[in-house]
């Protein structure tokens, strides 16, 4: 059986080409997309992969989108050139995403045949496995045929990618390949990959922190932060890092404080709910002056919210973590590259300032993937203030910059960290003058923090001109992708550091008329900017259904805003 394809892909003006793979959870949708991303990268193309999935293990409707271009891709497009569906529900849900002139494959064993090309995916899979198996290699077979790979190349790809069920996958991909006769081969193959590795945001956060010295990660599973725990657990032997799944988020953060007392660089991570549970200990980290990296990956709330989707509702929550007053740093990466460098910067800042820091991100960055080459050279060396081991050592010695010298046990000095208000020695106090002095010492770290962040890039700026758009976090990715499609040039301003906020650097925008793009329902980021910069909001472009903006739709909204 062979199947002919009559359509011809139109080459997108911006060379953006998009592939969607859709099916049930557990059928191999995400893995198939990863393999295809890898093949596209081997052509010398850039890719961006986004996985849309539900909070269920088997069944439901999952789909992965891969957008590729010879130029950098910052987010996925909704309209696809190629869609491959494993089941009827996927056909129903995804048919609207097909570009005019696009190619659509469905599973003729579970499809209505109203559009596209049917392949007997399930029967071929059963034939390959002799029983029930996985459809993962179906899209790979289709892809290799359509995009002009030889059958030998397909076999090499499958062999390289599958250890489990390798023979079954070879057979299935081969049968699928034979079904597809047309060879469209739309892309030039440069054979010099732009980068060899596809990284998710969470992997980059993990690796950035590790390069900066991370020894321990303490977590409790909560999407979209779980994959940090999973990734680091897997890297245990390779990197010599310990990832501990604690009994709760409360345990995780308190363990992390203990580890930092002993001199280990520790981090914790969760989404809103788990982060809420960590509040008291976050405050304790402020009080005992524990260096601690806390990663908050947001999903729609409140409460359990929408587990597997994206949001930016936690801006003020992140900024105001913990009761009481103390210095903290909050920053949000505006790209995958920044996820790596910022995680490293923040861990270093935590140790320089001896205070908790928050890396605020979202599902859209945490769990989407792109190809890049890591730049470990950029990773800063933390300038940690270490004390002298003698009888006079005081953990909370009063200093001008508020930073007291650290020592770690075992030590002949007595090192006391105290969650009560304390004397410089670390012994508890409730006397007026020592309280005043110690509070002033800690408060001076707020000024020290302002200086400390200055050595890093505090704002990202893309484009120029009068059409000023503010965003932070992964929304900036969506904006940069949308910027390709607007007739007006956009001037995107993305504060990376949110606390301390780079007021001086942004002073030129004070009182200006701006557009804000944000994934919150009430326009939290615009409120924040109004307070900080007295900006006038021309338009608040909000999306709060858990999905990233489609670049084309966002481009239209931006044009409307600036035309108004």
């Amino acid at each position: 059986m062979t199947y002919f394809i009559k359509t011809q892909w139109s080459i997108d003006l911006h060379d953006i080409h998009t592939i969607i793979i859709a099916g049930k959870a557990g059928e191999g949708v995400k893995k198939a997309a990863q393999v295809i991303s890898g093949i596209l990268m081997s052509y010398g193309r850039h890719v961006f992969q986004n996985d849309d999935y539900q909070s269920l293990i088997k069944g439901g409707h999952n789909y992965s989108t891969v957008s590729t271009s010879e130029a950098e891709v910052f987010s996925t497009s909704e309209q696809a050139d190629l869609i491959i569906c494993f089941d009827k529900r996927s056909v129903e849900e995804r048919r609207v995403d097909l570009k005019c002139g696009g190619t659509f494959f469905y599973n003729s064993d579970d499809g209505d045949g109203s559009m596209g090309i049917g392949l007997p995916m399930t029967s071929l899979m059963k034939k390959a496995y002799n029983t029930n198996g996985n459809l993962c290699s179906v899209p790979i077979g289709i892809f290799c045929a359509l995009y002009g790979h030889s059958k030998q190349e397909l076999a090499n790809i499958i062999t390289g990618e599958f250890r489990k069920d390798r023979d079954e996958n070879l057979a299935l991909a081969g049968m699928i390949y034979d079904c597809v006769e047309e060879r469209l081969a739309p892309f030039a193959r440069k054979h010099i990959p732009v980068a060899e590795h596809l990284f998710s945001g969470n992997q980059l956060i993990s690796l950035g922190a590790w390069t900066a010295g991370l020894d321990f990660y303490f977590g409790y599973p909560m999407t979209p932060a779980s994959s940090i725990l999973h990734y680091l657990a897997l890297q245990k032997d390779r990197l010599g890092v310990q990832a501990i799944h604690a009994e709760s988020e409360l345990a995780a953060i308190n363990m992390a404080i203990g580890a930092s007392f002993a001199g280990a660089r520790a981090a914790v991570g969760s989404s809103g709910g788990g982060f809420a549970l960590m509040q008291e200990a976050f405050s304790m980290a402020g009080m005992v002056e524990a260096p601690l990296l806390c990663i908050l990956s947001s999903r729609p709330g409140p409460a359990t919210g929408v587990s597997t989707y994206t949001a930016q509702e936690d801006l003020f929550f992140a900024l105001h973590q913990g009761h009481g007053e103390f210095a903290r740093v909050v920053a949000s990466p505006d790209s995958h590259e920044r996820a790596y460098s910022l995680a490293a910067e923040l861990l270093s800042l935590a140790w320089e300032l001896q205070t908790p820091v928050v890396l605020l991100t979202e599902k859209h960055l945490s769990e989407s993937s792109t190809c890049l080459k890591l730049q470990p050279e950029q990773v800063p060396h933390a300038d940690v203030k270490i004390g002298l081991e003698n009888d006079d050592y005081e953990r909370y010695e009063i200093t001008d910059d508020g930073i007291s010298p650290l020592l770690f046990p075992p030590s002949d000095s007595v090192i006391k960290w105290n969650s009560h208000e304390h004397l410089p020695s670390g012994l508890r106090t409730d006397k007026s003058q020592p309280i005043t002095d110690m509070k002033a010492k800690r408060a001076s770290k707020i000024i020290t923090a302002k200086q400390a962040v200055k050595k890093y890039q505090q704002i990202a700026e893309y484009g120029e001109g009068e059409n000023i758009v503010f965003a932070y976090g992964s929304t900036v990715l969506e904006l940069r992708e949308a910027a390709r499609h607007t007739s007006k040039p956009l001037h995107i301003i993305a504060p990376i550091y949110l606390e301390p906020f780079p007021l001086e650097e942004l002073a030129i925008y004070a009182g200006r008329v701006i557009v804000v793009v944000d994934h919150s329902c009430t326009g939290l980021f615009a409120s924040f900017l109004k307070e900080k910069l007295q900006t006038k909001i021309l338009k608040n472009i909000l999306r709060y259904d858990g999905r990233p903006f489609d670049p084309h739709s966002l481009a239209t909204l931006l044009e409307e805003a600036f035309d108004a």
Binding site: F216, F218, Q242, P409
Partner: protein, 277 residues
């Protein structure tokens, strides 16, 4: 050995059982140091409550943690540097109420550290409300009609959770406390010592314990006996209930490594990233 005293004024009520515990731990530490354990390797972690004040009265490195979280903090310390001997001081409200999860999980993991439970059957510091170990009928500010809950039995609870050393002692029996704490701290694995600690202000149990405390002369031969003896209210048996050697968590996790001493330098990490990615 240097002094273990601090300049801090002691604010426990005169007659409080905590004084005995403080004396015992000082003596025990002295014995440990004489036995060859460097003082610098001993680290204390305390919860919040009257018991936690011991942090201020003992000149030893450590963390004065949050209410209920001492064992979580302590586990982080132990995991980061397994050379340290970590001693945790907890209250019954602290370790079996607010922080019960950490207590059970530290035992479940056989985390190599010691929990000393100041069992005064009440929340001393917050003016005597009922605790997870208060008897049914206990009258406190939050239970003026008397507690309608049944108390936990800490030793059976910790036994079931997986503690590998279990003991009980009494705050008036200095030598017994010193010996018991020494064995607990020496034990490789999770050791739990319940100290009967009368609270003169809210739960004065001196008379009760003086009458009913009895010495356990041998370690009970099986768990059922441990359960029965630990629950016995006719006699409060003090002594060692269990001592068992099984693998400890940190060695299962990273064998004989020490994550702090063997941590890679910044340059090594950058080099590794370049090699891998």
């Amino acid at each position: 050995m240097r002094s273990l005293n601090t300049p801090k004024e002691n604010t426990w009520c005169p007659g409080c059982g905590n004084f005995g515990i403080l004396n015992a731990i000082k003596k025990c530490i002295q014995n440990l140091v004489e036995g060859g354990i460097p003082l610098s390797e001993l680290v204390m972690v305390c919860g919040i409550g009257c018991h936690g004040k011991i942090f201020d009265y003992l000149s030893l490195s450590g963390v004065y943690s949050l209410h209920g979280r001492a064992l979580a903090t302590a586990q982080g310390i132990k995991l980061a540097n397994p050379d340290l001997k970590v001693i945790v001081f907890g209250g019954d409200g602290d370790s079996l109420g607010e922080g019960l999860e950490h207590t059970l999980f530290a035992a479940k993991r056989n985390m190599d550290l010691t929990l000393i439970l100041h069992n005064n059957g009440t929340y001393g510091l917050t003016t005597g409300q009922f605790s997870p170990l208060s008897y049914t009928g206990y009258k406190g500010l939050s239970t003026p009609q008397g507690s309608i809950e049944r108390p936990f039995h800490p030793i059976p609870l910790l036994l079931e959770a997986g503690a590998t050393f279990l003991a009980r002692t009494y705050s008036t029996k200095l030598e017994h406390m010193v010996q018991t704490l020494h064995k607990a701290i020496d034990h490789k694995g999770f050791s739990f010592v319940e100290i009967l600690q009368p609270c003169v202000s809210y739960n004065n149990t001196y008379q009760l314990f003086n009458e009913k405390v009895k010495l356990l002369d041998v370690i009970p031969r099986d768990d059922a006996t441990v359960m029965a003896l630990a629950r016995n209210q006719e006699h409060y048996y003090i002594g060692i209930y269990k001592e068992q050697l099984i693998p400890v968590y940190h060695e299962l996790l990273y064998q004989t490594q020490n994550p702090i001493r063997e941590r890679l330098s910044g340059l090594q990490r950058k080099q590794k990233i370049r090699e891998l990615y």
